[in-house]
Every structure is written in structure tokens, then in C-alpha cells.
Symmetry: C2
Subunit: 244 residues, 2 copies
């Protein structure tokens, strides 16, 4: 497994020569509109505290209750936000990926509300709160950007309830697999643990395993060990839309 890799060189998102630069246009914070009015030399100085970090799977980015001091945007990969149940087990309440922002509560000076854990190798930008507050002064549109991010989280939460917490277990699994497919294009769901599936869908590990095994047997998904999976999307859609 590759280790955590913090790239400290300089703020990549303003460096046009960086290969990943084109992605930054989609970034929640470093939006192409957002930096438009700021002179080049100020800009470098402002965003230099932004770090590009790559985490392996199963890394904790931050913990619930912890004092917050940065928001994050996900560049590549997948993260679960979990909350701890009184009983000791954990329930996943959101999946974050694909240029979503995360940890917005830090803008409101609140401690983090979830524990954030990577489900795959994940590349993200860590934006210290100081950058946000500094940018806010000169860039009034930033507030609007953040509101859109909040709304986006809400929409995700709604989809989470509708897709992952409604209907029989097989239906939920199918919807999760389709979600993962859309997000990563390559369907590496042999990488995601059964326990994670269970915590996302509110079912037990055994049920998750049984259903996954059954889908394999029916050749709806095909997993070569160590490789990514293939699936038959139409058949998954059929299951996903079957309201018992």
C-alpha cells in the first residue's frame, strides 16, 4: 500500500503547468470565476497554504467532535462520512467524491460533525480555514459558492435516504453499485468491504455478502481478484428500480 503523500511544493491549483490543473476549474473553491479579480502575486500567497494530499484506503481524514480548521475538496477517490451509534457500531450517512466539498462546518467554526474515512485511494485538497476567511473579504461570490456546496450535500443526503435506506436489501445494493460505477467509471467494488456496504445500506455484513455473492453467481457482476469488476448495467438497473 502506498503511504500518505503530502505535496508541499506549491499550490498546484494555480499552476497552469501542472498536469492536474484542468481539474481545478471544477473545484468548489478554486473556481475559474472565483480568482478572476485577484492579481497574480497576491493569489500565490493566498492559496499557498492549500495542500494536495493523497491517502490510501481506510485513512481517517478527520474525526467527529474534533476542532475543525480546514475544508476539503475531493479530487479523486471516495470518502465515507460516519457517525457513531450509542451501541458502538458506526453508520455511514454520506458518500463524498468527485469535486464535492467536505467539512463545511468549519466555516461556521463548529467541530467536525462526522468522522471522514477513505474507502479507496483518495486525492484531495486541504484548504485551511484561514484561506477561506481571507478570500471572503475580496471575493463576495465565495459565499454563494459555499451555499451551493451546502445544497449539494443536502441533495446527496436526500439521495442517500431514497436510494440507500429505502426498499429491500438487494435493491439497495444494486443502487450502490450503480452509484460507484458512475463515480469511478471503473467499477472496483471488489475493493469496497462488505462491512462498509453494510454500514452504508443499514443492513448486516452477512446480508451484504450474500447478495454480492449471489450477483456474482448470476453473472450480473464479474470480479477478477486484484482487478476491477465488470457488470451488466441494465440488469442492475432492473433490480435497482424493482420496488418490492
Amino acid at each position: 500500500m502506498n503511504d500518505i503523500n503530502i505535496d508541499l511544493k506549491k499550490p498546484k491549483c494555480t499552476d497552469k503547468t501542472w498536469e492536474g490543473h484542468t481539474d481545478c476549474v471544477r473545484c468548489a473553491i478554486r473556481n475559474h470565476v472565483l480568482f478572476s479579480g485577484i492579481p497574480e502575486e497576491q493569489l500565490d500567497h493566498l492559496v499557498s497554504p492549500i495542500k494536495n494530499i493523497t491517502y490510501p484506503a481506510n485513512s481517517v481524514i478527520y474525526r467527529a467532535e474534533e476542532k475543525s480548521n480546514a475544508i476539503y475538496t475531493i479530487r479523486k477517490g471516495l470518502i465515507k462520512l460516519v457517525q457513531h451509534l450509542p451501541n458502538g457500531s458506526e453508520r455511514t450517512v454520506r458518500l463524498v467524491q468527485n469535486y464535492d466539498a467536505m467539512g463545511l462546518e468549519s466555516v461556521l467554526k463548529e467541530p467536525y460533525h462526522h468522522t471522514a474515512i477513505t474507502l479507496q485511494k483518495t486525492e484531495l485538497c486541504q484548504i485551511p480555514l484561514s484561506v477561506i476567511t481571507a478570500l471572503e473579504k475580496t471575493q463576495p461570490q465565495l459565499g454563494r459558492q459555499l451555499m451551493h456546496q451546502w445544497q449539494n450535500h443536502l441533495d446527496n443526503a436526500d439521495k442517500f435516504i431514497i436510494d440507500f435506506s429505502t426498499g429491500p436489501a438487494e435493491t439497495r445494493v444494486a443502487r450502490l453499485l450503480l452509484f460507484l460505477r458512475k463515480s469511478s467509471n471503473s467499477l472496483c467494488f471488489n475493493k469496497i468491504g462488505r462491512e462498509d456496504i453494510a454500514s452504508i445500506l443499514g443492513i448486516t455484513t452477512e446480508t451484504a455478502s450474500r447478495i454480492m455473492a449471489d450477483l456474482k453467481r448470476r453473472s450480473i457482476i464479474n470480479c477478477i481478484p486484484g482487478e476491477c469488476c465488470t457488470c451488466e448495467p441494465e440488469r442492475l438497473y432492473a433490480i435497482a428500480n424493482s420496488m418490492s
Copy 2:
């Protein structure tokens, strides 16, 4: 049943002689900080489009997909936000009450994302978008207020997943009853339909009915027809926390 009652007289929330005025201090929009810098005569003019409306139970406030033009704050009562499933039935994704704001997506010029329906007699303030945009210019803290509202919705969504979509049906019902108790103080849950309970908890109407009937038989809740209910909170808590 009492009809919809729109109070057009004048913006009550700035009228200190109005009996409900003290509540307005807690309002998401008319916050005591918020209006501090604005001269009296401008204030009246600014907030005059705000309407106080009282709806009976089962009224539709707005519909999903509909063009949005106002946000709402709930003064008293209870509202469900529902989304329609492909199958035709509906799933409740949030419960709104107690000075919560609702319809924030209108600030982002998006159509409403849910259909909002009252579960009880509900009193609310309708704040046209024009008021928000006008206030935004002179009151920079308004943006922050709105962010807090978004965060509040997110927290509610999390609780919705953890409390109402996790664990066995009886546990979920107990948690819902305790939620209703805390919100309305008086526990009028003979008023809330079994179908509503089902759509909130993601179970069937029959299961909801069976569990409610059983709780009555065990005298954990006592309902006098036409009156409000009483319950034994400790026993409900015991059920609510029983993870099985």
C-alpha cells in the same frame, strides 16, 4: 377544520406590540442581530412583503420541481418534505419545525427540491426571495445566517438517517414519538396518520399500525380519541435505544 389564514396586515415580526413578537427573535431571518443596522422606516418597507400564514393539517405549501420564489420559517407546527419514488409512492426525507427554515434552494434560484406538506396545523412566515436579495446588500451577516440554516438542515438529515432509517421498526417508531414529543411538548400523535409514520420510517402502513396498537396495549402510550396523548418517556427511551 380551519381554513388557510393569510395575515396581510403588516409584517408582524417588526411589530413589537404583537403578542408573537418575542418568537421572532429566534427566527432564522429576522434575527435580532440582523436588522440592527437598518433605520426604522426602511425596515418596515423592506419586510412588508413577509406574510404570516396558518395552514390546517395536510396542506401543500409548495411542490417539487415548482419554480421557487420564497423561503419559509416555521413558527409553530410540523411539516414533512417528501420526494416521489419512481413507483408512485412517496418517501419523507425530512421533518421541519420549530423555527427551522425551509425552501433555502430558492436563494440559489433552483426550483424546490421537495414537496412540503403540513402534518399538523402549522403557522409559518413566508419570506419572498426579493426580501432576501434586498437584505443581502445591506446586511452581510445574512449570508452567514443562511449557511447556519443549511447546516441545520444537514444535521437534521443526518439524524433522519440515524434515528428513522436505522434499526428495527419498533425502535424507529419509539424514536419518532420521542421526537414529536420534544417538538410539540403535547404529544398529539393520534393526529399523525399511520401512512405518514410509514413514509417517514421507510416501513409499511400495516407495520406502523401494528406497532402503535401494541404500544397502546402495553400502556406505553395512551390516546383519548380527539384529545392529545400521554406516554411513558422512560419506556419509550428504552425501546428507542435498543439496538438489536
